[in-house]
């Protein structure tokens, strides 16, 4: 009896191959390689929102005279570098023409080889670590890079915040926070920085706050995941941190606003987009988020726009342009078409350099308004 049951169980598994779907228009598939769970799950979901919104606005694309339905195919890389290659392979096996993503640099680096091996182009949306595109011919990205962002932040800390000693906190094994801290330290001056890393699964950040206070730092730089961020903000509040917190693009999120609301912590971030830059776009996407319960939940329960959502929106149109320029759904043709693209997006003009990185030279700096729980625009920062 047990044997039969066991065999039946195995059969069930074998039969579970997903059936094929058929549609009227020919379909072109765009892979969405984003974390839906894990440390960066919240950010990944927000980034996907932008693509989904763009997809509702422009559900079809004309390629070589034929109208194609655009289908977004999702794979959850679970914010984990060892799950990423298989998630990427899943997209490739699904026959996507190109891939968008990911939020978080580690997973993109981890999957870059899989994409390269299959010759499927990938466009990074907000993965800012230089290693994503270095040494990989199929990876492009539309965001700025960490050396740039780190320098912007360091300059901001020095000139605007008047900081002389910085406390930098990264998560062990996280390429995004580790990388950004390194570039920040390089720009700020190694001798004036205290650099510490916390192991995964840490929830007690009170000691790190104490460390920053004890070492007499005057800025707290912690470009970590939003999960850790919420904990850090809570502790910074109860322990009266007494210095501004500075972070990168990941912190441009509702999670931070929710955590910071009603506290007396000063938070500044660099990001890709400032709400209000394109009123019409803002209105449209907010209406869409509010009309869709899942979207609202994925955006953290309100319609405050995250820059990554806008980046996701732009990435979708870059993908459509690439398909149009390629005149085919074959990944190989798309790959050839991408380097020469020039797209005007909501976040600015998008074009690629030789390595495949975006030609961007400015970042927005925002500060959290802890009374109203929204971002206030501070400045547009450039390096030069």
């Amino acid at each position: 009896m047990k044997k039969i049951l066991a065999v039946a169980l195995v059969l069930c598994l074998v039969l579970a191959l997903a059936p094929m779907a058929f549609a009227d228009n020919p379909v072109v598939k765009i892979g969405v390689f984003e974390p839906q769970s894990g440390d960066n799950g919240a950010g990944g979901k927000q980034e996907v929102l932008g693509m989904q919104y763009a997809n509702t606005l422009t559900p079809t694309v004309e390629i070589d005279g034929v109208e194609y339905d655009v289908e977004l195919v999702y794979a959850d890389n679970a914010s984990s570098n060892d799950k990423a290659p298989t998630a990427a392979q899943d997209l490739i096996s699904n026959g996507v023409s190109l891939v968008l993503g990911s939020y978080g640099s580690g997973v993109s680096i981890a999957a870059s080889d899989t994409f390269a091996n299959a010759g499927v182009p990938a466009i990074g949306v907000t993965c800012t670590n230089p290693q994503v595109t270095a040494d990989c011919e199929v990876y492009f990205r539309i965001c700025f890079l960490d050396p740039f962002q780190g320098t912007v932040l360091a300059n901001f800390a020095k000139s605007e915040l008047g900081a002389t000693k910085a406390y930098c906190l990264a998560k062990l094994g996280d390429d995004y926070s580790g990388g950004l801290c390194n570039f920040f330290i390089e720009a700020f001056g190694k001798d004036n920085c205290v650099y510490e890393q916390f192991p995964e699964g840490t929830s007690d950040f009170s000691t790190y706050i104490t460390n920053a206070q004890n070492q007499g730092c005057d800025v707290f730089f912690s470009p970590v995941s939003t999960e850790a961020a919420a904990q850090i903000i809570a502790k910074a509040d109860t322990q009266a941190l007494g210095m501004p917190i500075l972070a990168g693009d990941t912190w441009d999120s509702n999670v931070i606003l929710n955590a910071a609301k009603g506290t007396d912590v000063r938070i500044c971030v660099t990001t890709f987009y400032q709400e209000g830059a394109d009123e019409e776009f803002d209105k449209g996407i907010k209406a869409w988020i509010n009309s869709d319960a899942t979207a609202l939940a994925n955006n953290g329960g309100n319609d405050e726009l995250a820059a990554v959502t806008v980046m996701g929106y732009d990435a979708y149109y870059v993908a459509l342009e690439a398909l149009k320029a390629a005149g085919s759904t074959d990944p190989e043709d798309v790959l050839e078409a991408i380097p020469s693209l020039e797209v005007v997006g909501v976040t600015g003009n998008i074009a690629f350099d030789d390595i495949g990185d975006a030609l961007r030279d400015s970042a927005f700096v925002k500060e959290c308004n802890t009374e109203t729980g929204v971002w206030d625009f501070v400045t547009v920062a450039t390096v030069g």
């Binding site: 699964g201 009170s206 000691t207």
Partner: protein, 306 residues
């Protein structure tokens, strides 16, 4: 010197108190079943999630007792479903079952939360900011160790002066003999799980009020550390577990701050990166204890009969 170190010690005592409440569950279950209940840390996490969801729709004075009740029910059910059928199986099987339950709870939490960080509700008064000895901290940090000690004293009274407590002591001394003496083993084990999970539920409230974010893996590390605390203090011994937990909590906090402490006092010039080892240190401590005093600080020595 004192002023630099004090914040670390206070934070460590608070963390230790939370570990202690989890560690008791480990040590009691191990004392009776000789089982490392790997799922205990995850029960602790589930208690946190329950609070998140219940407090969203119910007032705190309803949700707090309800969370405790549901958590206890969960602990009771886990024992019934996953451990009781394996009572006669080899110890390894039961341990694997425990790992399986832990895997299941984490994945269930992942499914329900969608893998997102859940903000723990603010419990008024205890999460307020207070100033102690010139140091800013939250009230829960100060309360935790005291509450822990009160609960432990109550527990020790329960074990020493009630019938069920006596039965527990008997079972942990000798499983088979107590069975022969007419003690209802299953009731005793259920009671153990109920007490263990009750304390874990209380612990989770203190913990998550202090560190207000719940993710599916929130319970894993505290759970493991609490277990180490139980081993450190001598598994099976409740005072041992509590003292072990405080030692580990303080040591962990000091390790995280060691770079800073040494730099402030001029012993070293630049960061060494001790914080990297804040988790690993717990295990170093564990291995030292296991190798040199396998029965822990307060454990009793047993010899295998040939």
């Amino acid at each position: 010197m004192a002023k630099t170190i004090l914040p670390y010690v206070i934070s460590g005592i608070s963390v230790g108190g939370q570990y202690a409440l989890i560690a008791i569950g480990y040590t009691m279950v191990y004392g009776i079943l000789r089982l490392i209940n790997f799922a205990h840390g995850d029960v602790f996490m589930v208690a946190g999630l329950l609070m998140v969801y219940l407090a969203a729709s119910l007032p705190l004075y309803v949700s707090i007792p309800l969370v405790i009740l549901l958590t206890v029910l969960l602990g009771f059910t886990i024992e019934r479903v996953a451990y009781r059928p394996l009572r006669t199986a080899p110890r390894m099987s039961v341990m694997i079952s425990a790992i399986g339950v832990s895997y299941l709870l984490q994945n269930l939490a992942l499914y329900i939360t969608g893998g997102l960080n859940k903000n723990y509700p603010q419990i008024p008064w205890i999460s307020d900011r207070v100033t102690v000895l010139g140091m800013e901290t939250s009230r829960v940090t100060i309360i935790t160790p005291f509450l822990t000690i009160v609960l432990v004293v109550l527990l020790v009274l329960l074990i020493n002066h009630t019938k069920i407590g006596m039965a527990m002591r008997a079972v942990s001394l000798n499983f088979e003999t107590s069975q022969l003496m007419g003690i209802r083993i299953n009731n005793v084990i259920s009671a153990t799980f109920i007490i263990g999970t009750f304390l874990a539920a209380v612990g989770s409230m203190l913990f998550f009020t202090n560190y207000p974010g719940v993710v599916p893996t929130s319970g894993a590390m505290p759970g493991l550390k609490a277990f180490v605390a139980a081993v450190f203090g001598g598994i099976g011994s409740i005072p041992g577990a509590v003292i072990g937990a405080f030692i580990i909590g303080i040591a962990e906090s000091l390790i995280k701050g060691l770079d800073t402490i040494l730099i402030v006092h001029g012993t070293i010039a630049e960061q060494i990166g001790f914080a990297t080892f804040s988790d690993a240190f717990t295990f170093i401590l564990l291995i030292i204890v296991l190798v040199f005093k396998p029965t822990g600080l307060f454990g009793e020595k047993t010899t295998d009969k040939v």
